[in-house]
Amino acid sequence: MTATTGYGRALDLITRVRGVRGAMLVAGDDGLVVAEQLMEGIRGSAVAALAASLANRLRRAMDVAGVGGPMFWHLQGDQGALLVVPAASAMLVVAVTDADVNVGLVRLELLRAAEAVG
């Protein structure tokens, strides 16, 4: 697990939630990892690149639909979930979780982290 100092605390609060396997800050434009705290076996760079690509497309789809920008997304899989909150600085705060995680709590921590990283 690695995290750039300063961003580490924001990620700490997310990864402390039970069922969270990892959290990352991702540069939304580049799809590169800025900071991460991930369990072994999660390919951070791959999740970052694909999440950023998806975020870009979602943002465009929502723009076209005239419903504003995305504030939170939750992709539920049968073995886990991906939760993402875009931050104001074009960064994405990403959590990889177990399937039965408390989504409300993780969402709250993601929003706090997004606010902290600006």
Partner: protein, 156 residues
């Protein structure tokens, strides 16, 4: 998107990479600038220029790394306003190969290119002939080989 290869083993991995990373142009070449395959180029002159410039950049940065007593840089990225240019090298059974990749920033990203570039390199390694073909390059052959390559690449 048109893709053509002088060396056919490069074609399938390149098509997969173009599709997955959603890149605009790909040029596969040797560090000397000999083109192995291209995707997305429409003019032979662009391929020749890109190959020459890409090979020169790789040579320059390899020399910088040497001066710094470091191993050669694995990849370089230049990000413009609308496009990114990614230049990376890796070794295959055929010998060292350089890939020049151009991507639109509103379609792809450096993260995506890096992610699928690793896979691309792996697939090329697996598909490549196991030993490089030793070949003496004579000045007299060079122009003919270049013309043959460009004819193959642009289906003339």
């Amino acid at each position: 998107m048109t893709a053509r290869a002088v060396e056919s083993w490069t074609l399938e991995p390149m098509n997969v990479f173009v599709h997955e990373a959603q890149v605009r142009l790909v040029l596969l070449m040797t560090p000397a600038g000999q083109v192995l395959a291209q995707s997305g180029f429409s003019r032979a002159v662009d391929v020749m220029s890109a190959a020459a410039l890409g090979a020169a950049i790789m040579a320059s940065t390899a020399e910088i790394a040497k001066q710094l007593r470091q191993p050669p840089f694995a990849a370089l990225n230049h990000q413009g306003e609308r496009h990114g240019i990614f230049l990376g090298g890796f070794t295959t059974g055929r010998g060292p190969v350089v890939a020049l990749v151009v991507y639109d920033l509103d379609v792809s990203s450096l993260g995506l290119v890096q992610l699928f570039f690793e896979q691309f390199a792996e697939e090329l390694r697996a598909a490549s002939p196991k030993a490089p073909v030793p070949k003496q390059v004579l000045a007299a052959d060079f122009e003919r080989e270049l013309t043959d390559s460009l004819n193959t690449l642009f289906g003339r």
